[in-house]
């Protein structure tokens, strides 16, 4: 079984003094130090990034990473919209399972804040269908349409959505690497301006810069020597149509359901075994749908259960969700997000999460979405026994 033996994340936010590859370099140097390994021990690199080609004409990142590392090993760049980081991790895990190598470096990074919001909106649109782009739909717009349908079907108002952001901002206030480290009130959220009705600015994750790296290995001697390690019990992915119009139900992410069922089956665990989870909260509605589609909550109950604070730090329920602050508060540099989610679970399971540490942990789950549900990745990690 493969194990993660090190993790490093840069701060997330508006990092104007750093380029994409400055961030990549910082995260590589950080993770080597964290895992106490050297570059000669790395057999391959998997790099998750979505926008560098569109925004800054920055492609062939494989060889740029080779230049930073001064190596000649295989380097693969992976794109799957906001799930790019998790898909990079998934492929890295498969690479080790196929015995193509023993130890790999997984990087996720994105540089977004050099550009006006409309340019970023345009670039992200590449992950919507042609018809949706022609209609002037945006990513907040696609999730807003899911939210409207969900709220109408189950009778919830905008206040239910606000509880997701309220919780995640509280968690983010405890994370020194988070883009936003400030608590907000339900009133702040409800009074913020609309981005795409019913989603307001406080329902939406921000545009962020950031990079994260993980070391994944199957080398038993490295795992034994590692100061911190967690086992990858499963990492499964599933896809669905890019168009909302082709989905079975607009308020359900089929890709999440399939990936979760596969991941729990492979890990031989039940939903109630999971102590902590990082779920994809690009928009407040997304966390409610994720909790239902992952099987933690019954369909249609999420709008009520979120208001009880069951998933907030300090609750006795399981799982505690998005201790990093989620995409909402920790930030959403799209290619980095999936790696950060897995990294946060690593920190929790190795008791390194400092003032946001959840006690008595055994298992954690990371859930990452690409597009409006076209790709889902569910990763389950277990504490070293």
């Amino acid at each position: 079984m493969n194990s993660i033996i090190g993790y490093y994340t840069t701060c997330f936010g508006e990092l104007w003094d750093k380029s994409l590859f400055d961030l990549v370099k910082e995260s590589i140097q950080g993770v080597f130090k964290s895992a106490c390994i050297e570059k000669r021990q790395i057999d391959a690199v998997f790099f998750g990034n979505m926008l560098a080609g569109i925004l800054e004409n920055n492609l062939h990142s494989s060889s740029k990473i080779a230049e930073i590392l001064k190596v000649n090993i295989p380097v693969f760049r992976v794109e799957s919209a906001c799930a790019s980081g998790s898909i990079a991790f998934h492929l890295a895990n498969q690479y080790l399972n196929s015995k193509s190598g023993k130890t790999v470096l997984v990087i996720g990074a994105e540089k977004m804040t050099d550009y006006p919001v409309q340019e970023i909106t345009n670039a992200l649109l590449g992950a919507l269908s042609g018809e949706e782009q022609a209609a002037g739909l945006t990513f907040p717009g696609a999730y807003a349409m899911m939210a409207k349908a969900y709220m109408k079907k189950y009778g919830y108002g905008e206040k239910s959505l606000a509880y997701v952001s309220f919780k995640n901002h509280f968690h983010g206030s405890l994370n020194k690497q988070a883009h936003f480290q400030k608590k907000v009130t339900i009133r702040n959220i409800l009074e913020s301006p609309y981005i795409a009705d019913p989603l307001k600015i406080f329902d939406c994750s921000p545009i962020s810069d950031g990079a994260c790296s993980l070391i994944l290995t199957s080398d038993k001697s490295l795992i034994k020597k590692a100061k911190h390690s967690v086992s990858v019990l499963s990492c499964e992915t599933a896809t669905d149509t890019i168009s909302l119009k082709k989905r079975k139900k607009i308020y359900e992410l089929e890709s999440t359901k399939i990936a979760a069922d596969k991941a729990f089956k492979k890990a031989k665990l039940k939903r109630k075994d999971i102590n902590v989870a990082e779920v994809h909260d690009c928009f407040s509605i997304a966390e409610i749908l994720a909790m239902e589609d992952l099987g933690f909550w019954k369909k249609g109950k999420g709008g009520k259960l979120i208001t009880y604070g069951l998933t907030m730090l300090g609750s006795n329920s399981k799982p505690i969700v998005n201790t990093s602050g989620g995409l909402k508060s920790a930030g959403h540099p799209v290619g980095a997000t999936g790696v950060k989610q897995i990294g946060e679970i690593f920190l929790q399971l190795t008791n390194q999460a400092q003032n946001r540490q959840v006690k008595n942990l055994k298992y954690g789950l990371a859930h990452n979405i690409g597009g409006s549900g076209g790709t889902a990745v569910v990763t389950i990690l277990g504490k070293k026994s």
Binding site: L125, S129, G130, L137, M145
Partner: protein, 99 residues
């Protein structure tokens, strides 16, 4: 880069949706738009289910606030979609109006 040949490829299916009736499955109002839609903000985008069961996404035009409701009946129409870009090609496509 948009060109007449690209538009022709994309627009082959639009004629099947023009004049077709359906109902609103869900909707949103976009306040932060992509660059080519800035002058239209705020605008309403709807997901429609046609009477034959097919679905499509498009903007709703000539509406009032009370009309943005799930279940409201609409019909597919041809309209200019967005601002003309540097290629000077006017892009027409599917939008909806209320019945």
């Amino acid at each position: 880069m948009i060109s007449p040949i690209k538009l022709w490829r994309r627009q082959k299916e639009i004629k099947d949706k023009l004049g077709k009736k359906g109902k609103i499955l869900t909707w949103t109002v976009i306040h932060i738009s992509p660059t080519a839609f800035i002058k239209q903000v705020p605008y309403c985008v709807i997901l429609v289910e046609f009477e034959n069961g097919n679905q499509a996404v498009g903007q709703l035009v000539n509406y009032e606030k009370k009309d943005m409701r799930i279940g409201k009946r609409v019909i597919g129409i041809l309209r200019k979609l967005k601002e003309v870009g540097k290629e000077d090609v006017i892009i027409y496509g599917l939008k909806f109006k209320l019945i």
